[in-house]
Symmetry: C2
Subunit: 202 residues, 2 copies
Amino acid sequence: MKLFMNEGSPFARKARIFAREKGLSDRIQEVVTAVSPVDANSALARENPLIKIPVLVTDDGARLYDSGVICEYLDTLHERARAFPSSGPARFETLGQQALCDGALDAAILCRYELALRPVGLRWNEWIEGQRLKIGGALSVLETEAQSWPDEFEMAQIGAVCVLGYLDFRFPEWEWRRTHPQLAGWYRAASIRPSVVATAPA
Amino acid sequence: MKLFMNEGSPFARKARIFAREKGLSDRIQEVVTAVSPVDANSALARENPLIKIPVLVTDDGARLYDSGVICEYLDTLHERARAFPSSGPARFETLGQQALCDGALDAAILCRYELALRPVGLRWNEWIEGQRLKIGGALSVLETEAQSWPDEFEMAQIGAVCVLGYLDFRFPEWEWRRTHPQLAGWYRAASIRPSVVATAPA
């Protein structure tokens, strides 16, 4: 399989951590791919009409996106513990945890585009503040939930690593640890997992 | 159950059409909810930390989001044809069709915010053009796929109605029909379905 990705993309990281946690990384060739919302990568557009990463090309030649679809597909290929319960409340709890982290990442990426890509004179502070409220809301939920997280490392934990790692990478000045001590403690321990180390943005 | 929604939200519409198609609308109270990315609805923030709609409150009191999670949950509650195949290539085809339409809607909503919410002097044309490329890419795929769509009305078709209905609602000047004749013909027929009529933005 091929995974179009780059090291800075937190959604690509979700798929990359997932593959490593489930013992699938030997079967996946990672293809470093440049993306920008204002400078379309025409090669990537042939793989995904939304011109986004990650995209997984399966051994059957199917193109899968977004990151949630990729993780659920990869979850059918391994013999370890399933990350996505097949039914019932546990399934929807997992999907909800994923949606929470995806939403925080969407907001953080919009902040990144606003503050690093958009010309300085066109930036809008209310937009940033609105997106930061969403990130803060998600972090508050994670701060509570992390207190009861077991040692397992499934979608909730993978999602949290992607969110917190991205905040450290792009917005260290927001100092999320100051107001989220439980999460900071959990993240310190999670950060030494091989899958997390191997996928950390440079 | 309660569904936080408003008539202008295409993601809320996805859940609302789904509920009607599967005979579940009698069990769902729709709660009209104002949202703005720069003027947070604090009541909504208590239901969904991402401060977005749709949110479904189940009979057990769980809060479900986003629209894909809601549709998959509703799919467990009815006795009609399942919209989400339980496994195999058909499942990932369905999830991919949903991801395609969700991505087009994300891009269209960003265009809407840029052109209607952001102060005039802060708008960035390259951003709009970049998002329009994503929408165009998705429409090209739908134009091809619609030629072989059967009469069924499942995730691909619900997603397409939400995308095309939103373009008509917010961007009629883009005239998507001019370059997508197959899709225009399909949409003309789809537009008279009761679930589509009942959820059309005013």
